[in-house]
C-alpha cells in the first residue's frame, strides 16, 4: 500500500462517513428526546430522489441539499405527529416509511426520468469538490460541514439549556413536565432536527457523493446509522468517529475488490458483506455498556 492508496482510502472513508454521521447524529438527538425512528432508510431514499430533482431544476447542488432537508422535515412532521402527539407505536411508521421509500423512488425514477432503476445526475446539478487531485480523489465541502454539525450537536446537547431540556424529556419526562417544560414540543423539535439531517444525508448521496439516483441508493445506511448511534452511546462526537470507521470498512471492501491478488482469492460478495458484519460485531461487542435514554421509544401521556 503506497501513499496515494492511503490518501484515496482516507478520502473515500471521509466521503462514506458523511451520510452515516449526519443520520446518526440526528438519531442521537431524537432518541435523547425519547423518540425512536427506524424510518431513516426511507428518508434517505426520498431525499436522494427529490434532492436530485430540485438540484437539476435549479442547476445547483446546494439547492438539492436544501430540498433534501425540506423533504426530511416533512417526514419528520409525519413521524412526530404519529408518535409524539397521537402516542402511536414508534417502530411501525418507520417500517412503512422504509417500504414506501424504496417503492416511491423506483416508481419516481421511471415516472420522472423515464429510466429504469438508475438516473445519472448531470454535473451542473452536483456539488463541486473543495479539492481534487489527478487520480480522481476529491474532498467534498460536506465533509467539514458534517464535522461542524457533530461538534455543534454535541455542544448544544450537553452545554446549553435547550440540550438539557431535550435530554430531560427523554430521560424523565414526568420531572421535566413538572418543571414546566413542554415535553411534546421538545420531542417534536428533536424529531424534526433528526429528519432534516437525514434529509441532508440523503441528498448528499445523489447530488454529491454518488452523483446518481438508484432504486437502492440508501443501501442499508439508514440502519447502519442506527447501529452507529448505539455504538456511540448516544453521543454525536463518538457517532462521527463511528461513522468514519464504517466509512473506512465500506471503502476497504472496494479496495480489496480492486486488488487483483485478493479479489482472486476471496469472492467479492464475501468482501461486500464486510461493512454489515463489522456493524454486527461492533454493536454486539459494545451493547453491554451502552444505555439508551430511559424513556426512549415510550410515548409520554400527561396524567
Amino acid at each position: 500500500m503506497n501513499e496515494t492508496m492511503v490518501i484515496s482510502l482516507l478520502l473515500g472513508s471521509l466521503a462514506a462517513m458523511v451520510p452515516i454521521a449526519l443520520t446518526s447524529i440526528g438519531a442521537v438527538i431524537s432518541e435523547r428526546a425519547g423518540v425512536v425512528n427506524i424510518g431513516y432508510e426511507g428518508i434517505l431514499m426520498f431525499a436522494a430522489f427529490f434532492g436530485a430533482m430540485f438540484a437539476e431544476l435549479a442547476g445547483n447542488g446546494w439547492v438539492g441539499i436544501l430540498g433534501g432537508a425540506f423533504v426530511g422535515l416533512l417526514f419528520g412532521v409525519l413521524h412526530g405527529v404519529l408518535t409524539v402527539y397521537l402516542k402511536g407505536d414508534h417502530v411501525i411508521p418507520g417500517i412503512g416509511l422504509n417500504l414506501l421509500g424504496y417503492g416511491a423512488v423506483a416508481f419516481g425514477i421511471r415516472a420522472y426520468w423515464g429510466t429504469a432503476g438508475q438516473h445519472q445526475v448531470p454535473s451542473n446539478a452536483q456539488i463541486s469538490p473543495l479539492w481534487m487531485d489527478a487520480f480522481g480523489n476529491s474532498l467534498s465541502p460536506m465533509v467539514p460541514i458534517t464535522i461542524a454539525v457533530a461538534i455543534i450537536a454535541w455542544w448544544v446537547l450537553f452545554k446549553t439549556p435547550f440540550g438539557l431540556r431535550i435530554r430531560a424529556v427523554g430521560e424523565n419526562p414526568e420531572a421535566a413536565d413538572a418543571l414546566g417544560i413542554n415535553v411534546e414540543l421538545y420531542r417534536f423539535t428533536a424529531v424534526l432536527i433528526a429528519s432534516a439531517l437525514a434529509g441532508v444525508a440523503g441528498a448528499y448521496l445523489s447530488v454529491d457523493w454518488l452523483g446518481t439516483v438508484t432504486k437502492t441508493i440508501a443501501a442499508g445506511r439508514g440502519f447502519i446509522a442506527l447501529a452507529n448511534m448505539v455504538f456511540s452511546g448516544w453521543n454525536p462526537l463518538i457517532a462521527l468517529g463511528g461513522a468514519f470507521l464504517f466509512g473506512f470498512f465500506d471503502n476497504f471492501a472496494i479496495y480489496i475488490q480492486n486488488n487483483p491478488w485478493l479479489a482472486g482469492t476471496i469472492p467479492w460478495q464475501f468482501i461486500a458483506t464486510l461493512p454489515y458484519v463489522v456493524t454486527l460485531i461492533v454493536v454486539a461487542g459494545i451493547i453491554g455498556r451502552a444505555r439508551p435514554p430511559k424513556w426512549d421509544g415510550r410515548p409520554y401521556k400527561r396524567e
Binding site: I92, G96, L99, A106, I287
Partner: protein, 348 residues
C-alpha cells in the same frame, strides 16, 4: 354470547385495516394523478389483471403464498414483542437450500424441509445476539438480510449456476417441483403449503403451551417471568419458528413457480417478499387468519401490477407506494376514532 363478544373484538381491527387500505388507495390515486397518470385506468387494470379471470385469480393466489409465509414470520415476532424483519434474507436462503438439496434428493418434501431447516438455522444468530448481547433485532436482522443477499448471490453465480443459462441458477429438477393446482398458471401446491402453515401457526400460538408462553412474553414480559416463563427461550423460539416459515416461503417460491424453477440473476425473483410480508402482517393485524386475507389482497396488487404496467403504462412500483401508505395508515393509532371525530366535527 361469548362468540358475539369475540366477533365484536375482531370488528374494530378489521374495520381499521379496511380504512387503511382505502386511505392507501386514495393517496395512491393522488400520486398517480400528480404524476400524470389516470388513476381510474390504473385501478381498472389492476383489478382486471388480478380478479376477473381464472388466470388472474390463480396468479393472485400464487403471489400470496410467499407473502403469507413471510408475514407470519413478522407476526410471530410481533406477538412475542420482537420486530423481526429478517424474513427477506431468509427467503433467499430458503430458495437456495431447496435448489441445492433437490439436486441430490429429487423430491419435493426434501426441498421444502431444506427451506424450513435453513430458515431455522439462519434465524439463530440474530436470536443469540438479541438474547445474550441485547442487540436490537431491527438492526441485526437488517444486517443479516444484506449478508444473506451477498452470500446467496455468490452461491447463485459461482457455485450453483446453470451452465446452459447464465441468467439463473440450476433449476429444481422436474420430480421435485410442486404440482400445479390450475393448469398453465403459477398456482401450485406452494399456496396450500402457505395456508396449512398459517393454520398450524395459529394452532401452535393459540392452543399450545409454547404459544401461550410466547404470547405472554410479548404482552407482558415481567408477568411472564413471574409466571415461570423463560423470556430468552421464548425469544429464541419466536425467531426459529419465524425463520422456518420464511425459509419455506423461499423454497415454495422456486419449487412452485414456472417456468424457471430457479433463482434468476440478481436474486430478482426472490427479492422483496420479506419486506412485503411485514405490510401483510400489519394489515392482517399480526393474526394468522387475518394474514391469509391480507396476503391475498397484496397478492392481487402484485398480480394486477403487470396488467397495470402493460395497459395503463403505470410503473409497477406504484404498488409498493400504495402498500407503504397503507402501512403508515395502519400505524396511526385509533384510526377509526380519529376519522369518526373528524366527521362529527364536519357535521357540527
Amino acid at each position: 354470547m361469548n362468540l358475539k363478544n369475540e366477533l365484536r373484538g375482531y370488528a374494530k381491527p378489521v374495520a381499521e385495516s379496511v380504512l387503511a387500505i382505502l386511505i392507501g388507495a386514495f393517496i395512491g390515486a393522488l400520486v398517480l394523478w400528480f404524476s400524470g397518470y389516470s388513476p381510474f385506468e390504473a385501478y381498472y387494470w389492476l383489478i382486471r389483471g388480478s380478479l376477473t379471470s381464472v388466470d388472474g385469480i390463480a396468479e393472485t393466489l400464487a403471489k400470496s403464498a410467499p407473502l403469507i409465509l413471510t408475514a407470519i414470520t413478522f407476526a410471530i415476532g410481533a406477538r412475542t414483542g420482537l420486530f423481526n424483519i429478517g424474513a427477506e434474507g431468509t427467503v433467499y436462503f430458503g430458495a437456495m437450500a431447496a435448489i441445492i438439496v433437490t439436486q441430490y434428493l429429487q423430491n419435493p418434501i426434501a426441498g421444502l424441509l431444506a427451506g424450513l431447516l435453513i430458515g431455522a438455522l439462519w434465524a439463530l444468530p440474530a436470536a443469540v445476539l438479541k438474547v445474550y448481547r441485547g442487540v436490537h433485532e431491527v438492526i441485526s436482522t437488517i444486517m443479516f438480510n444484506w449478508i444473506a443477499f451477498f452470500l446467496v448471490s455468490w452461491l447463485a453465480v459461482s457455485v450453483y449456476y446453470n451452465p446452459k443459462d447464465p441468467n439463473s441458477t440450476l433449476p429444481i429438477p422436474p420430480s421435485a417441483r410442486l404440482p400445479l393446482l390450475v393448469k398453465n398458471t403459477s398456482l401450485s401446491w406452494a399456496f396450500i403449503v402457505a395456508i396449512l402453515s398459517a393454520i398450524i401457526v395459529f394452532i401452535v400460538m393459540w392452543h399450545t403451551k409454547l404459544g401461550y408462553e410466547l404470547r405472554t412474553s410479548g404482552q407482558n414480559p415481567r408477568a411472564a417471568e413471574y409466571g415461570g416463563i423463560n423470556p430468552k427461550r421464548s425469544a429464541i423460539w419466536s425467531f426459529v419458528i419465524g425463520g422456518m416459515t420464511a425459509g419455506l416461503a423461499g423454497a415454495g417460491l422456486v419449487m412452485g413457480t414456472p417456468p424457471s424453477y430457479a433463482i434468476t440473476q440478481g436474486l430478482a425473483n426472490v427479492y422483496g417478499y420479506g419486506f412485503d410480508g411485514i405490510g401483510v402482517s400489519l394489515v392482517g393485524r399480526n393474526h394468522p387468519l387475518g394474514i391469509i386475507f391480507a396476503g391475498i389482497l397484496f397478492g392481487a396488487l402484485s398480480a394486477g401490477a403487470t396488467a397495470m404496467q402493460q395497459h395503463a403504462h403505470v410503473p409497477l412500483e406504484m404498488i409498493k407506494v400504495i402498500e407503504g401508505i397503507i402501512i403508515i395508515a395502519v400505524a396511526v393509532p385509533g384510526l377509526l376514532d380519529l376519522f369518526a371525530r373528524l366527521f362529527r366535527r364536519g357535521e357540527a
